[in-house]
Symmetry: C2
Subunit: 214 residues, 2 copies
């Protein structure tokens, strides 16, 4: 694998390639040309070749890509051949929703514990996951070698939680709090702003509505 | 309000402006200059002025923006002064997670019903929302004037569900299925690919790790 800097745009497309490869595997397809892949995924064939060349390129002239190899390679590039131990911070509705969602995740991501400051919740369970006292989160993350913290608290405490998680040594933060947070350089951050997405949807619904005059 | 075409990039930033305005309102701040806003939100002051000028501009030279007015205007532009009736399709873990999440939504978005094909689920409830037979979805959407369908089914049936929702007359689709779907031009679409986001996070964690050689 080449070790040059890969652009964020390419990285963003990799999970999508992978999803299509999963579908192809399900259908028993063993190889695919960049042209066929293009028809399926909607990127141009040259874009696909260029994207995959970033990783050394696994295609063979006149043969195409082996679906299995490409799937394995992309999975490895994304780091999905490893295991990630996660904790959820905030055991309210949002934390509950994410715990529920993670149950459907068959991959290498597993939630080991949840944390809250509410005494009524501490000691209970969130979808089978123990809810612990937020006071003890640093100790737990260090001891259990937790690599990802999922922030499900309100906007006003999200930064404080991110600081604590970074201090405790997580390598990544998946932020669902409706706010922007900052993390040290050695911590990866991914934001999911569900309400922003819903508000964009509302805008586009009204925009279409205006245009079609309905 | 000007009625010119606003770029998608600007639209994407509006929910974020709105979030910061909510925080400012909470703190009792009544007015803010584009420079102060810039420090807070991280866009340049000129970017902020340019963005808000798209909507006719509510700022006054030497005074700045009224936090309340700006909040109201952006909310109206996003269509958040209206009410949206929603249904969830797919009452499994993902649908359950979204139903749970929507409970924490205090806004104009409310889920009225859920639909599934599983006879064991039909007639039961999802976080207090009745689960109905997917067979009857078109009739329900028409009768109850549902405007948004939330797709929480697996990737292999998501397109079929989107087609049915579009036929039934929804104006927007919020897609959580791990697949890309197509909708007619008169239907707005917003995708939330949670697994793509998680996979991006994994990539960046490993990328940082590689660089820092830890």
């Amino acid at each position: 694998m080449k070790n040059t800097k890969i652009s964020n745009a390419v990285i963003k497309r990799l999970p999508r390639y992978r999803r299509y490869l999963i579908e192809l595997r399900k259908k028993g397809v063993e190889k695919i040309s960049s042209k066929e892949f293009s028809t399926l995924i909607g990127y141009t064939a040259s874009q696909i070749r260029q994207d995959l060349n970033n990783f050394g390129g696994f295609g063979q002239q006149g043969y195409g890509y082996s679906v299995d190899s490409l799937y394995d390679e992309i999975s490895a590039i994304l780091g999905l051949d490893k295991e990630y131990k996660m904790v959820i911070i905030g055991a309210g509705n949002l934390g509950h929703a994410i715990a529920k969602y993670m149950q459907s995740s068959k991959q290498a991501f597993r939630v080991y514990g949840a944390f809250d400051i509410n005494p009524a919740l501490i000691g209970t369970e969130l979808e089978g996951i123990p809810i612990m006292d937020y006071e003890n989160i640093v100790e737990y993350v260090e001891k259990e070698k937790i690599s990802i913290g999922i922030i499900c608290v309100g906007g006003d405490t999200a930064q404080e939680v991110a600081d604590k998680l970074s201090f405790a040594g997580v390598k990544g933060i998946w932020n669902f709090a409706p706010t922007d947070i900052e993390v040290p350089k050695h911590v990866a951050l991914e934001n999911v702003q569900l309400s922003d997405s819903l508000h964009s949807l509302a805008y586009h619904m009204n925009d279409i509505h205006k245009k079609t005059d309905r």
